[in-house]
Structures are given as structure tokens and as C-alpha cells.
């Protein structure tokens, strides 16, 4: 075991730097992906079963937000105005576009009704540019379940961060 107090200041600084680099690299990769996809949240985790059987809770989705001419049949992730819950649903109708805003109506594959009731009060269509944060282009099953666990059991976050810090501090190179 490494004893922190016995380290030279430079060694201590290097250990802290290692830890900081792990965290900052993860954050910057995320931001880099955001820039590349032009989406504030390029990877999302499915939180509900409304797109079953295509997507299940805990599946990981990769989004793309460049080229905003979204077609019917695509799966988009949008935020309901006033609420900060991302929803993953399929586009079933589109109109507008060109010089004006493109309007979309969405529906979950597992919902009998479209999303009109889900939208903010007085809103019956999504605005592609304002409401949608990306269109689904990639899929990895299940691995996002960790984040669902983390949000349902917040103490797990502390444990994980602690473990991460510990391993980085304990381990050199």
C-alpha cells in the first residue's frame, strides 16, 4: 500500500493528476462526442419500456443530431418543454420544414396512442430544432443499466467514485 504522507510533493501531485486526468478525459471525450454529433447528450439510456421490443430499459442509444431533415420512421430523443426527461419515440408524421421549422409527431412502438398528450400543454407537435436532441443511429443492449442502478441507488455513486479514486491513487503509471 502506498502511504500518501510519505510521498514527495511532486509524486503526490502526479498521483492527483492521474486521477484528475481519468475524470477529465472521460468528460472531454463526452464533450468531444457532443461536438461531433452536435447533440448535448450524444449517448442516452432507455428509461422506459415504451419502445419495446426494439429498446428495453437500460439499453444504450447513440444519437446523431446533424442533418436535421428527420424522416418518418426514424427514432428521435426529445425533451418535453418544461420537463427535463428525455423521451425516445418514433416519428410517425412530419410536416413543415424548408424555410420554416420542421414539425414532428412521435409515438412509442409500445403505445397505442401517439404522443400528443405527452407534449407540453398547447403543444401538439415537436419542433425538430428546439425539442429534439438527436436521432438514434446506434444501439448497445443492456450496458446502460448501470446508470439506472446509479440513479435509483444514489449511494452507489459515492461508492463507485471512491473505488475509482482509490484504484487510481493506489496504482502507479
Amino acid at each position: 500500500m502506498l502511504n500518501l504522507s510519505s510521498l514527495q510533493p511532486r509524486q503526490l501531485a502526479a498521483q492527483i493528476l492521474n486521477f484528475a486526468l481519468v475524470l477529465s478525459t472521460a468528460f472531454m471525450l463526452w464533450k468531444g462526442l457532443s461536438v461531433a454529433t452536435d447533440s448535448p447528450s450524444p449517448i442516452v439510456v432507455v428509461l422506459s419500456g415504451s419502445m419495446e421490443p426494439a429498446f428495453q430499459r437500460g439499453d444504450l442509444l447513440f444519437l446523431w443530431n446533424r442533418g436535421q431533415d428527420t424522416q418518418v420512421g426514424e427514432v428521435v430523443v426529445y425533451n418535453v418543454r418544461g420537463k427535463d426527461i428525455p423521451i425516445v419515440h418514433r416519428v410517425v408524421r412530419r410536416f413543415g420544414g424548408g424555410t420554416g421549422p420542421l414539425r414532428l409527431l412521435t409515438k412509442g412502438d409500445n403505445n397505442a396512442a401517439d404522443d400528443t398528450e405527452l407534449y407540453a400543454r398547447g403543444q401538439s407537435f415537436l419542433n425538430r430544432q428546439e425539442d429534439v436532441i438527436g436521432s438514434v443511429v446506434g444501439y448497445i443492449p443492456f450496458v446502460g443499466y448501470v446508470t439506472i442502478l446509479l440513479s435509483e441507488y444514489p449511494w452507489l455513486k459515492t461508492v463507485m467514485l471512491g473505488l475509482m479514486g482509490l484504484t487510481v491513487v493506489l496504482q502507479r503509471e
Partner: protein
């Protein structure tokens, strides 16, 4: 203890790397498997009626009710990495404003399950599909060759309207077949009209241009005629 942690970390890291590489290979394998989809879609009947978006709404809108015939051979879309194919038919019609691109809406959809996918209520069962639980050779064949459909005079799942509430007497409407291939892991892909690598574009799959008729009075239309097909969607209340 320290060393146990390091060993566990190494083992987990190795497992992750291997899993990631295998997943990447599987995801890429779909792009070298040739696709030759073909489809034939014909308009059978179209009617426009007046109605309300839901039973407690006072808004009156015009709805187009479109019946069609559909024959498809999409069997090449089903590779070992295909989980399901979300098949849909869109009605596309020009916008009233010349500056806007055409509007489109889904009138019918079906989730075609891959043979490797577990049963789910939303999966489409073509009319006349034998009970798959019995060891019926026909049923086995249907499972072995998914993506082959022969639908006659099929009712729509959705009656469609425009955001203006008016769809009667529109011209240049086209029905198009589309799909979204959902993999077990990897990229989602959609119907293409042109060739892409070893993937051929969809042959057929588009109707001639047609027009929506004028509004028919409800009383003159047989109620039976305006029925829609029901999907297997589990969530029948408010969307969630």
C-alpha cells in the same frame, strides 16, 4: 488484498475488451451480408371522413382512411444480427405551402420479429399465420423465412390528417414502404432506394400517385369500412 484488486481489475478489463471487440465484429458483419429487398404496394381504396382527434375533443378534422395491398420479400434483411424489422407504410403528399417539402405520415406499421427474438406481444403476426407453438411444418417455414408478406385489402392502423385539419381533395399522394432494421448490437439502418455496397435499394415498394377524394358524410359510409387494424401495443392508456 491490493493484488487481488489489481487482478480483478485486469480480468474485468480483459473481459470488457473482448466483449467490445466481439460486439464490434458482429455489428460490422451486417454490412457485408447482401440485401435484395423487393416489394409491391397497391392502393386499394381511400376515403375521407370528418372526425375528432379523440372523443372529448370538439375539434373537427378530416381523416383519410387508406386500404392497400402489400407483397414483400424482405427476407435478406434478416441476418444473425437482426433483432426485428419495423416495417411501415407512409402516405406522402405535397404541402399547401410551396416552400415546404412534402408532408408524410405512417398509415400502417408492423414489427417483424427475427427468428432469434423472444416472443413479444407487439410482434406482427400476418393473417393466416399458423400457431407457432404447434410443431406445424408451415409454421416452421414462416419462422425460417421472415419478411415475406402477402396482404390483401389491408386496413390501415392509423387514419391520418394534416395539421391544417384538411386532407380532402389533395392530389399527388404516394404510398411508400419503409423499414427500420433494429440490430442486436450496432447501427440502426433504414430503407434505401439506391444501392449501397452489397445492399441493393428497394425494388418497387411505391404506389402510383393518387388523389384523396372529397369528404364523405359519415352516414353514407359503412362503419365497417372505416375500421382500423389494431396493433399489439401493450400500453393502451396514456402514452408513457
Amino acid at each position: 488484498m491490493h493484488s487481488t484488486l489489481v487482478r480483478a481489475q485486469t480480468a474485468f478489463g480483459f473481459f470488457t475488451t473482448v466483449a467490445f471487440c466481439v460486439a464490434a465484429l458482429i455489428a460490422l458483419s451486417g454490412f457485408v451480408s447482401p440485401q435484395t429487398p423487393s416489394a409491391d404496394i397497391k392502393l386499394r381504396n381511400v376515403q375521407v371522413v370528418r372526425g375528432r382527434p379523440n372523443y372529448y375533443s370538439t375539434k373537427k378534422e378530416e381523416y383519410a382512411h387508406i386500404k392497400f395491398d402489400l407483397d414483400t420479400d424482405l427476407s435478406t434483411l434478416f441476418t444473425w444480427n437482426t433483432k426485428q424489422v419495423f416495417l411501415y407504410i407512409t402516405a406522402t403528399y405535397p404541402s399547401l405551402k410551396p416552400s415546404e417539402p412534402p408532408s408524410s405520415a405512417i398509415i400502417w406499421d408492423a414489427i417483424l420479429a427475427s427468428p432469434s427474438a423472444p416472443w413479444h406481444q407487439n410482434q406482427y403476426e400476418a393473417p393466416g399465420t399458423p400457431d407457432t407453438r404447434k410443431s406445424d411444418p408451415e409454421a416452421q417455414k414462416a419462422i425460417a423465412a421472415p419478411g415475406i408478406l402477402h396482404l390483401q385489402n389491408q386496413r390501415p392502423k392509423y387514419q391520418i390528417t394534416d395539421y391544417t385539419g384538411k386532407v380532402a381533395n389533395r392530389s399527388d399522394v404516394v404510398l411508400e414502404l419503409g423499414w427500420n432494421v433494429q440490430p442486436w448490437v450496432g447501427a440502426l439502418t433504414w430503407r434505401g432506394w439506391s444501392d449501397w455496397g452489397v445492399w441493393k435499394g428497394l425494388k418497387g415498394g411505391r404506389t402510383e400517385r393518387f388523389g384523396f377524394p372529397g369528404v364523405k358524410e359519415r352516414v353514407k359510409v359503412q362503419k365497417e369500412d372505416l375500421g382500423t387494424a389494431k396493433g399489439g401495443e401493450g400500453n393502451r392508456g396514456k402514452p408513457a
